[in-house]
């Protein structure tokens, strides 16, 4: 609690008693160990430089830059010029996207996960965020029940996508990934122009406070 004045206020000219002194000292000694919000004035810490770097947000990112090789008036994009194209293949299963994997040690915190990527190709694909191998249904771009709704996935050709989710995690080490799943409706036998993920970025914001 806050102090307004000592318990025993000693006036000028007043004889000083031992108990008065003891009680005034005891007031301070009892407070130590239970300092709370009332013991700090408003805006007591006014500058963020007084805070530890890990006090609020811990931000981690991973990215890959890919030249899609578009030449105006000459050629469209391809997935072969730049070696950093990620070609997930045609397996109908969630596959980690190259370079978009972050392993981090957290407290009990919510994680804000953002993925921004460029899709090359026109086959159906789905994208999602996975944490510790679990694909977050709410993060999926495309349908969750593809067998029931085969028209639910992006198949608009080359286009960019963004995914995000806020996920509470327990203290410990976690693996956050962006994942992709090939869908076979358009190209049942994919040849030549396979899908690819080009420019891409994964951002994880651990919100500790």
């Amino acid at each position: 609690m806050a102090w307004k004045f000592p318990k025993r206020k000693i006036e000028s000219g007043e004889p000083t008693g031992v108990e008065d002194i003891n009680e005034n000292f005891a007031e301070y000694s009892q407070e130590s160990g239970s300092i709370n919000e009332h013991n700090f004035r408003s805006n007591a810490i006014s500058s963020r430089t007084e805070l530890a770097a890990t006090a609020g947000f811990v931000i981690t990112s991973a990215s890959q830059a890919v030249n899609p090789n578009i030449v105006n008036g000459s050629s469209g994009p391809d997935n072969s010029t730049d070696g950093n194209n990620d070609i997930p293949g045609t397996t109908n299963a969630w596959t980690p996207i190259d370079d978009l994997s972050i392993t981090l040690k957290t407290e009990d915190s919510p994680l804000w996960v953002l993925v921004s990527l460029q899709h090359f190709g026109s086959a159906d694909v789905s994208f999602a965020i996975s944490i510790d191998g679990y694909v977050l249904p709410e993060s999926i771009i495309g349908g969750v029940t593809y067998d029931n709704d085969p028209d639910s996935n992006p198949n608009s050709g080359e286009s960019p996508y963004v995914l995000d989710a806020v996920v509470p995690v327990i203290a410990g080490t976690h693996v956050v990934r962006a994942v992709v799943k090939f869908r076979s409706r358009v190209f049942s036998t994919a040849t030549g122009s396979l899908n690819a993920i080009q420019n891409r970025e994964l951002i994880v914001v651990e919100m500790r406070r």
Partner: protein
């Protein structure tokens, strides 16, 4: 940790020395306060500074603007100088209007407590196609609209090649051969990125902007008729304090 306070008893010496002993025990304890001395959840919004370093006012433009292969042709991936790129502008490719550009209070990316600037761009492509004076025009799926984020630090703009995104025009199912390349596209271009110290070579980030361009996979047709039409575009950003790894 509680202070062990030795009370002064009746009959004890009550002088400067005994008082100093008591004061010293208080002094030692106050100087040695630990995390455990502060009750959990002591510090709230009234005590601590914001963890947001800077929040520029988001900027939007809503009117339809045009860029053509004559005035906003794609200059190539990661192209420099950055001035060759066309900023998204309220006058479109002609320029001279208001750029889709944010101004923020200076952020030092080399500050160890700087967690980066999160940038959010959404640009709505209304149309990406040929606008011929006659005839069906060039196939719509031969056109590409390209977008990217640039950041101003110190006295230079820096182009973030990893943020380049593109969309291909689409020949819409069900349209006739005569009209299939004359349909509007209506496609949202989203970009998210985290600006880091390695993205710039100066220590003061003060502006962020969005650029766009149009490309075609061959040279057929009239470049001035090949248009990228944007409708609503919004750019926002937030700079956060935090550990960056």
């Amino acid at each position: 940790m509680p202070i062990t306070y030795s009370r002064i008893s009746n009959g004890d010496a009550f002088d400067a020395s005994s008082l100093n002993t008591s004061f010293s025990s208080i002094e030692t304890s106050l100087n040695g306060l630990t995390q455990a001395d502060v009750a959990p959840e002591t510090f709230g919004r009234d005590h601590l500074p914001g963890l947001v370093v800077a929040v520029p006012t988001p900027i939007s433009q809503v009117a339809v603007v045009e860029y053509t292969r004559a005035n906003a042709a794609y200059v190539g991936w990661g192209h420099t100088p950055v001035t060759d790129w066309d900023t998204i502008n309220t006058n479109g490719g002609a320029g001279g209007g208001t750029d889709l550009e944010l101004t923020i209070s200076a952020v030092d990316p080399t500050d160890s407590k700087y967690g980066g600037v999160l940038v959010f761009l959404n640009a709505q492509v209304q149309a990406l196609r040929d606008f011929p004076s006659s005839g069906p025009g060039e196939p719509q799926n031969e056109f590409f609209g390209i977008f990217a984020i640039q950041v101003y630090a110190g006295s230079s703009w820096f182009h973030l090649a990893r943020t380049e995104r593109y969309v291909r025009g689409d020949i819409l199912t069900g349209a006739t051969a005569a009209t299939q390349s004359l349909q509007s596209l209506f496609f949202d271009i989203p970009i998210r990125t985290l600006i880091r110290a390695s993205d710039v070579s100066n220590n003061s980030i003060t502006k962020i902007r969005a650029v766009c361009a149009i490309a075609k996979l061959d040279s057929a047709g009239t470049a001035a008729d090949h248009k990228l039409q944007l409708k609503r575009c919004t750019l926002s950003a937030i700079a956060l304090q935090g550990s960056l790894s």
